[in-house]
């Protein structure tokens, strides 16, 4: 429905609004691994249901394609669900909900076989069966992999499968701006069609949030540029609480200086970490697992080496780093680690067969997310969540390597089926026009008309540097309080931005501005949660409180939106059979 056409006044768009409405039975927000898996599941559940995949990117551009090393699944009779669950729970530093983990691990093997039948080139044993490799902090080598391009191949497989279904429609480059809940139920999702600038409202019976994590809140990051936490922020602003947001995973081996991921598979296959003196150092931090300890442990070890003056320095500006050494396993690189070998060559001119790779811990995963559960439901009906956007919580305070893509597959499937079932039993609710009007005004009458001269990209850069410096691997009260003060000042600057680009076609600057708005909200939640959690657990390490405190903090942080900032409450952790004990690797 055309409500108002573009009005140009001397080249400046005053109001670029067609209010276009699109109706789909099931709306999937996000076209990454969890989103595509959910879309296929919903479309298969009932071919008469219409499924709309709404993404700010084109298919296969989502960050899931960057996943490298593997996906844990119990396929071998010598392995067991209990063992996979135990590894996950120990990895989580006992913050995972154990009932959820136990259910989750049982859902994974079927997804491996399903994607195999759909064409995923899982790496094989000579006899043609699916092969598995070791990974960090696993007590059985259960990482199923497609060389070191696991995410890429699974994404190709899911996208291709989705193309079989005429009832799946892709809405590519629709940037979601807000979501509305009415009477405890999903009502609508507002978006901007980036190609036209049209304000477009999606109405549906059910929605699945599968929009990924928030890792680009940080500067040094393995994440794609697009990962700005949109799904988390949209849900939060609509009233859905976020859980455990202070837990941000740092992957030990981001390539210096770009941050590009060098898979944990490299260490699982036998790679060493060397400090600036070219000596292995993990013996001092994880005497049993060494380089194969959990990511939080290895990342801290690297930072401690650097703090002790044993980092390498010189070639890449001020950044200190350590080395990944793969030289002694040169013969397996081309078959098992082709992508990272190519990346080292293309981006750094380094031949991994004969040279050391400079690495530094980089943000890699957002353990927190939408407060949901293993059934993928939330507190609101018709609203489901899956993948990194969700916090079930399976990963607790630290996700194990090889435990993200399997979650996207297993719980993406659950979310798709659940949303489809819900859609079969419900109608599309009437649109509450006043909500949509208010959102339209927020963007066109407020955001686009701000004129204080602040550059959105500069605010984003300052925010990222602030998060790196003050809310990173090592945290303390001083740094965190400084971070929070800074975030408040960025929020003030954000009120004074000037969006220079006045185009309605592919206006990236407007997109950046909306993203930075989301990022500021999430940065605040992460920092407040970190200030209040006066203990160290998993990826959250407080130098001023270096021990885990089960008596006071064996609980999930819940952040609920208020106009004055997040309200923090807590929720108990579910323990089934694994009592928290001292965690060493």
């Amino acid at each position: 429905m055309v409500r108002q056409k573009n009005i140009f006044v001397s080249g400046i768009i005053l109001r670029c609004v067609y209010l276009e409405k699109i109706k789909e039975d099931v709306i999937i927000l996000g076209g990454g691994m969890a989103g595509l898996r959910a879309a296929v599941a919903a479309a298969e559940y009932n071919k008469n249901l219409s499924v709309g995949v709404v993404s700010k990117l084109y298919p296969l551009r989502s960050h899931s394609v960057s996943a490298e090393g593997g996906t844990s699944a119990v396929l071998n009779p010598k392995d067991s669900f209990d063992l996979h669950a135990y590894d996950t729970i120990k990895g989580s530093d006992y913050l995972a909900d154990q009932d959820a983990v136990e259910e989750f691990v049982r859902l994974v093997p079927e997804q491996i076989y399903t994607t195999d039948h759909w064409g995923c080139p899982w790496s094989r044993n000579p006899d043609g069966t699916i092969s598995q490799r070791d990974f960090g902090a696993l007590s059985f080598p259960r990482a199923t992999f497609a060389a070191d391009k696991t995410g890429f191949h699974v994404m190709q497989t899911l996208f291709s499968r989705a193309l079989k279904y005429d009832n799946i429609r892709f809405y590519n480059e629709y940037f979601a701006t807000s979501m509305f809940i009415e009477n405890g139920r999903f009502n609508s999702l507002t978006t901007i069609n980036l190609r036209t600038g049209d304000f477009t409202v999606f109405q549906g019976k059910a929605i699945v949030f599968a929009a990924g994590g928030a890792g680009r809140l940080y500067q040094f990051s393995t994440y794609a540029h697009s990962v700005s936490g949109d799904g988390d922020a949209i849900a939060y602003r609509a009233g859905i609480p976020l859980k455990d947001m202070e837990f941000i995973q740092f992957h030990p081996t981001g390539l210096v200086p770009s941050g590009i991921l060098i898979t944990e598979g490299a260490r699982a296959d036998g790679g060493y970490l060397l400090n600036g003196e070219k000596k292995r150092f993990m013996q001092a931090y994880a005497p049993n697992k060494l380089e194969k300890a959990s990511r939080d442990v290895v990342s801290r070890a690297i930072m401690w080496e650097i703090e002790a003056g044993r980092g390498a320095k010189g070639e890449y500006g001020d950044m200190e780093y350590v080395y990944l050494d793969l030289r002694h396993m040169a013969d397996v690189l081309d078959e098992r680690l082709p992508m990272i070998t190519e990346i080292a060559k293309k981006f750094n001119g380094i031949d991994a067969h004969t040279e050391l790779i400079p690495v530094h811990p980089a943000t890699h995963y957002t353990m927190g997310g939408i407060d949901s559960n293993v059934k993928t439901t939330t507190d609101y009906s018709g609203i489901f969540a899956a993948g990194e956007n969700a916090c079930v919580s399976i990963h607790g305070a630290n996700r194990l390597g090889s435990n993200s893509t399997n979650e996207c597959l297993a719980l993406g499937n659950v979310a798709g089926v659940s949303a489809a079932k819900y859609a079969m039993e419900h109608d599309i609710p009437d649109l509450v026009v006043s909500n949509v009007d208010a959102e339209e005004k927020r963007i066109w009458d407020d955001l686009l008309k701000r004129n204080g001269g602040e550059n959105v990209a500069k605010i984003r850069e300052d925010l990222r540097n602030n998060m790196d410096k003050n809310v990173g691997i090592f945290r303390d009260a001083n740094g965190l309080n400084t971070a929070l003060k800074n975030i408040k000042s960025y929020k003030e600057r954000y009120e004074k931005i000037s969006i220079q680009d006045k185009s309605s076609t592919f206006n990236m600057e407007l997109e950046w501005a909306l993203e930075v708005g989301f990022m500021l909200d999430l940065a605040e939640i992460i920092t407040v949660g970190a200030i209040m959690r006066t203990e160290s657990r998993g990826a959250h390490y407080r130098k001023d409180y270096p021990n885990r405190d089960d008596e006071n903090f064996l609980k999930h942080t819940i952040a609920t939106y208020t106009k004055d900032g997040p309200k923090i409450t807590y929720k108990p952790v579910v323990i089934t059979k694994w009592q928290p004990t001292v965690r060493t690797y």
């Binding site: 990117l57 084109y58 298919p59 296969l60 551009r61 989502s62 960050h63 394609v65 960057s66 079927e110 491996i112 076989y113 399903t114 195999d116 039948h117 759909w118 064409g119 080139p121 899982w122 790496s123 094989r124 000579p126 006899d127 043609g128 069966t129 699916i130 391009k149 890429f152 191949h153 190709q156 291709s160 499968r161 193309l163 079989k164 190609r195 794609a224 540029h225 697009s226 770009s258 590009i260 991921l261 992508m339 990346i343 293309k346 981006f347 550059n455 990209a457 500069k458 850069e461 969006i499 220079q500 680009d501 185009s503 309605s504 076609t505 592919f506 206006n507 990236m508 600057e509």
Partner: protein
Amino acid sequence: MADEYEFEIKRKDESGKVYYSTYKVPKDKISTVLEGLLYIKENLDQSLSFRYSCRMEICGSCGMEIDGKPRMACSTIVEDLKKDHIKIEPLKHYKVIRDLVVDIDPFFDKYREVKPYIIRDDDGKYDKELPQTPEQFHEYANFAMCIKCGLCMAACPIEGSDPNYLGPAPLAAAWRYIADNRDQGAKYRVEVVDGEEGTSRCHFAGECTEVCPKGVDPSFAIQKLRRTALKIEIASIFGGR
């Protein structure tokens, strides 16, 4: 050598006006073309539009004509181009939406046409894997590496003269699935790719293979497709399957 690069970028605004903008980018601030574009966007000109995401040459977003050749902006190291003046234009053979952003829909439509998914009679039973030896994997491995960036479509001379031609990446995808021992859908795919707008249009000039950032060889896939089509045709004449 100067301490700045000059990026000369072909622009198109939403009124349809086409022009070039030139920007000075400090050499010590950037390494890749994408970093250069981000530097410009963040510091010099907020109106410049382009696509990007992963910055590690796996998501396929940032294809563009760089120094006269289709390349990925994220994996093109400016220094390797050995010049200070870099000309950047949108990918050829696509409709330009704005600046370096092109309409990639026709490419994905063609990709879908070749039925790029496993087709099996027993679809729906997923209780164990379908056996595939490493040797069988290598039959199609090269063609499975396609990141759908569409560079090959910009390099292909046939694409330039005949927009209906299926093109290198879609044809390579058709072969990727036919060559997969888990697939049983060759005959359906051959129907699509064996026509006037399919394999017979290819001149085997090999430009597609040359520009592919992932080393995929569509030219070879097209030769394989032709032979497979012939085999299926002969088999049907002599009463085979």
